[in-house]
């Protein structure tokens, strides 16, 4: 990279990159000053509330809002008629392509309600209690329809249809009859039959998983303010305010230029805040009432109406030779999409066997609609489900041929040059390094007690780049304001400022980040796909180099020497060599101070569509203790190992690994959506939707492996998503070692574990098969 020549900080010794710094927004967040979605108030503000369907599946005969409108204090009531009915059009949103026809129906039901909690009207009133009372005055007549909750039931020929016109895509010839199967996807390479023929041992297993929610602690919230002239401002908690702007403008038939969206601080998202729910409704209410409208979901609404990720049924078949060569892998995946098409099954098919260098592979996936809330992205969407099955089967293969599970993984590990089933050959990746770090870790050799077991599993995620902008505004004192467009969900401000300070060669305290609104920066894709530090980081580096080049030009003019004779070093412009002339180096502060005389303000900018995201592999080791009288599983010890490419801020990389691991522990042991026969969710709260609490888990040990991503200046790979992939299989494998029983359904909750243990004790025990 030639332009590196201008930047002396290309040396591998970094001043800021790779160090543990206090985040720039830290003080605001430990003192309560930081403003999250629900923290903003506006003069003359109204409170909005949504009327939600109590039925899992029904035709809407009519909605009568007149009584609600008549209630004193009610300023606006909206229904589907206030939101555009959009034709089918696919657009990227978060991890999946979404269809505007579906978004508009998910935001406000039109012909039918498709799940319990489906929005079908909303009111804005002068107080929350009046708004609630108004909801109770809205009359809706439903024509109840049979519902379907389970993915396999939904695929049956006689299953109730959610979308009467839905013909399965990806099947040739196209089926004549509609079904709940939205799409079939297939990836394959090599010759499966030949592959399995080479195998000495073949294992085929079925697995079930249930939907799990992202579980961010901050409910969805927004504040919309539409002026009489149609200009609108929206404040909301989101992973991508530019994406919100696009969706809202479309759903409300507004000019995109008239809508300015500001991202609040975001209280967790994990993929769940990549789509719109309240935002278009609040705008519609504000447009209708002419007053600002604030909307905040209750926790119950979050569970009933926002995206969990898919539950699924999968079938995994893998073959191995006695000496440990995996000869073939075949996977069949049925993912619930919720009420509208678009489960992450395709990504699951692409990831399932990605940690292995395989010649013969096939993955087939089905995207199936059911009467549940539409799924949204959740941390490495699709991958945890698919890789859970594959990693359990790999463990069983290792046991059957008497090989150490890490050795089997090492022997077949994906590496640079591995042909993936989804297309590309892998570049430099760090799976082998992670597996070796796992083998070398003291945890792997530590002794275990009775009813205890140890499990390992690998995880793979692609990571993405995408559109990012960055602007560096130099102040008169030489400090810099860094404007970026990716909401800071886990400390990205810190890592981005560190890269800026590194490039500029100034002190980190001199870089002040802000998340720009949609009017003050070019389009920036959302914080997701583990892209913020990678892609926005690239933009930040380019913006820094842009302003460095401008400073060099100014200094060259000042010294009256060619610009190439001016180099940038450690925050100073210097003559390239003595024969360039003897000039005192000029600091950024000095250059900034004379900016108005040398051509005006100094601003660096970059607008890019980042390519070349590096995949990230991880390997987890977990020890469990199983209470054989109650089925309770205790996590005794946990180690997460991952290739970060380069950890710009090691603390936040560790934090991603630890947080992902614990979300995975919840998925493995207790988290699930529990539905009654009435199609209603029975556990829409943190009391019975059991995410891990502090006393459930031990310290999560971490090992950061750094195999640089060649396409990034500092070698960064995304790190946020991979850590949630290995835990479920690692824990299942550990429980198998502790009990001799293989669990093929998540969550491995106490009643299930105890039932299996009891069954295995019974005379005709086959649970352990």
């Amino acid at each position: 990279m030639a332009d590196n020549a201008k930047s002396a900080s290309q040396s591998n010794v970094h001043k800021w990159v790779g160090t543990r710094q206090v985040r720039p927004d830290g003080v605001d967040k430990v003192t309560g000053r930081a403003s999250f979605g629900a923290d903003l108030h506006a003069p003359n503000m109204l409170f909005g509330k949504v009327l939600r369907s109590p039925h899992p599946h029904a035709r809407i005969v009519f909605i009568d809002t007149s009584k609600a409108e008549a209630l004193e204090g009610v300023k606006a009531v909206v229904t589907k008629d206030d939101i555009c009915d959009l034709p089918s059009e696919m657009v990227p949103a978060g991890e999946m392509m979404v269809n505007y026809r579906d978004i508009t129906r998910n935001v406000m039901a039109r012909e039918k309600v498709l799940y319990e909690g489906h929005a079908l009207a909303a009111v804005a009133a002068t107080s929350e209690s009046i708004a609630r009372k108004a909801l109770s005055l809205i009359e809706v007549e439903y024509e109840l329809l049979p519902h379907v909750i389970d993915v396999m039931d939904a695929m049956k020929a006689d299953a109730p249809l959610l979308h009467e016109d839905m013909i399965t895509a990806g099947v040739e010839p196209a089926p004549e009859k509609p079904s709940n199967v939205a799409k079939r996807v297939e990836f394959s390479q090599g010759d499966l039959e030949a592959g399995f023929a080479e195998a000495d041992v073949i294992v085929e297993r079925e697995f079930y998983t249930h939907p799990v929610h992202q579980g961010y602690i901050e409910p969805h919230a927004c504040l919309a303010n539409v002026a009489k002239d149609g200009k609108a401002e929206l404040w909301c908690t989101t992973q991508g305010h530019f994406v919100v702007r696009g969706h809202c403008a479309k759903l409300l038939g507004m000019d995109i230029s008239k809508l300015r969206v500001t991202a609040s601080e975001i209280g967790g998202g994990f993929g769940g805040k990549t789509v719109v729910y309240l935002e278009p409704v609040a705008l519609a209410l504000s447009r209708k009432s002419g007053q600002p409208v604030k909307m905040v979901m209750t926790r119950e609404e979050v569970f009933r109406a926002t995206g969990p990720t898919s539950g699924a049924h999968l079938k995994i078949k893998m073959g191995v030779t006695k000496d440990g060569r995996i000869t073939a892998a075949d996977g069949l995946f049925h993912y619930q999409a919720g009420a509208f098409p678009g489960s992450p099954v395709q990504l699951g098919c692409m990831c399932a066997f990605a940690p292995y260098d395989l010649e013969h592979v096939r993955t087939v996936g089905y995207d199936v609609v059911v009467n549940r809330p539409k799924v949204a992205a959740y941390r490495a969407p699709g991958a945890p489900i698919a890789e859970y099955g594959a990693e359990c089967v790999v463990d069983e293969l290792a046991k059957k041929i008497g090989m150490d599970p890490l050795d089997l993984r090492l022997k077949n590990a994906a590496k640079e040059g591995t042909q993936t089933v989804y297309g590309p050959k892998l570049g430099p990746v760090g799976l082998v390094e992670c597996l070796e770090a796992a083998k070398a870790h003291p945890h792997y050799k530590a002794p275990l007690g009775e009813n205890q077991g140890r499990g390992v599993a690998s995880g793979f995620w692609f990571n993405i780049g995408g559109e990012s902008c960055a602007t560096l505004n130099l102040s008169e004192d030489g400090s810099a304001h860094l404007v970026i467009g990716t909401p800071d969900i886990g400390g990205s401000r810190a890592s981005l400022c560190q890269m800026a300070a590194e490039e500029l060669g100034i002190h980190l305290d001199q870089v002040h980040p802000i998340i720009g609104d949609t009017a003050s920066l070019g389009y920036t894709f959302l914080t997701g796909g583990s892209r913020a530090t990678f892609a926005t980081g690239m933009a930040v580096i380019e913006a820094a180099r842009d302003v460095i080049d401008k400073m060099r030009e100014r200094v060259a003019k000042t010294w009256d020497i060619p610009v190439d004779a001016v180099v940038w070093e450690h925050g100073y412009a210097r003559p390239a060599s003595s024969n360039a002339g003897a000039f005192e180096p000029l600091s950024m502060a000095e250059i900034a101070a004379m900016a108005n005389k040398t051509g005006g303000p100094l601003v660096g900018h970059a607008a890019i569509n980042a390519q070349g995201a590096g995949p990230s592999f991880g390997v987890h080791i977990v020890d469990v203790d199983v209470d054989t009288d109650t089925g309770h599983v205790k996590i005794l010890r946990y180690t997460a190992i991952q290739d970060a490419g380069k950890a710009i801020h090691p603390c936040f990389v560790e934090g991603q690994m630890q947080g992902g691991a614990v979300q995975g522990i919840g998925w493995a042991l207790n988290e699930e959506y529990i539905y009654g026969n009435d199609g209603r969710l029975q556990n829409p709260g943190f009391l019975d939707y059991r995410i891990p609490v502090c006393s459930d888990v031990p310290m999560i040990d971490t090992v950061i492996v750094e195999v640089p991503n060649p396409t990034h200046r500092y070698g960064v790979r995304g790190v946020g998503e991979t850590p949630i992939i290995p835990p479920m299989a690692a824990i299942a494998n550990a429980i198998e070692q502790a009990t001799g029983i293989r669990f093929n359904e998540l969550p491995m909750s106490p009643p299930k574990v105890l039932a299996a243990i009891e069954a295995s004790k019974a005379p005709v025990a086959d649970a352990a098969e």
Partner: protein, 81 residues
């Protein structure tokens, strides 16, 4: 001539053909050529598609350069949570 491989479901729109040798300087030209060869494929190349050129993935990158001996895989677009 670059070696071009269609992955996933795409070959359903190219009469089952999944491998091509195509003259194209960049992704946009490649899509135009593919679309011309198989009109049914054209709409599916407009959105939700990425390419891997000699192993490196490009998304929404019309002008990513394709070398004369490049191996190009046309794959579904990837993103994340």
């Amino acid at each position: 001539m670059a070696r071009v491989v269609l992955n996933g479901n795409l070959k359903q729109f190219s009469d089952g053909k999944s491998e091509f040798d195509i003259e194209a300087k960049n992704v946009r030209q490649l899509f135009a050529e593919l679309g011309a060869l198989h009109p049914a494929l054209a709409p599916h190349l407009e959105e939700g598609i990425a390419v891997a050129i000699d192993g490196e993935i490009f998304q929404d990158a019309w002008f990513a350069a394709i070398g004369p001996d490049s191996e190009v895989h046309v794959i579904p677009k990837i993103a994340g949570g």
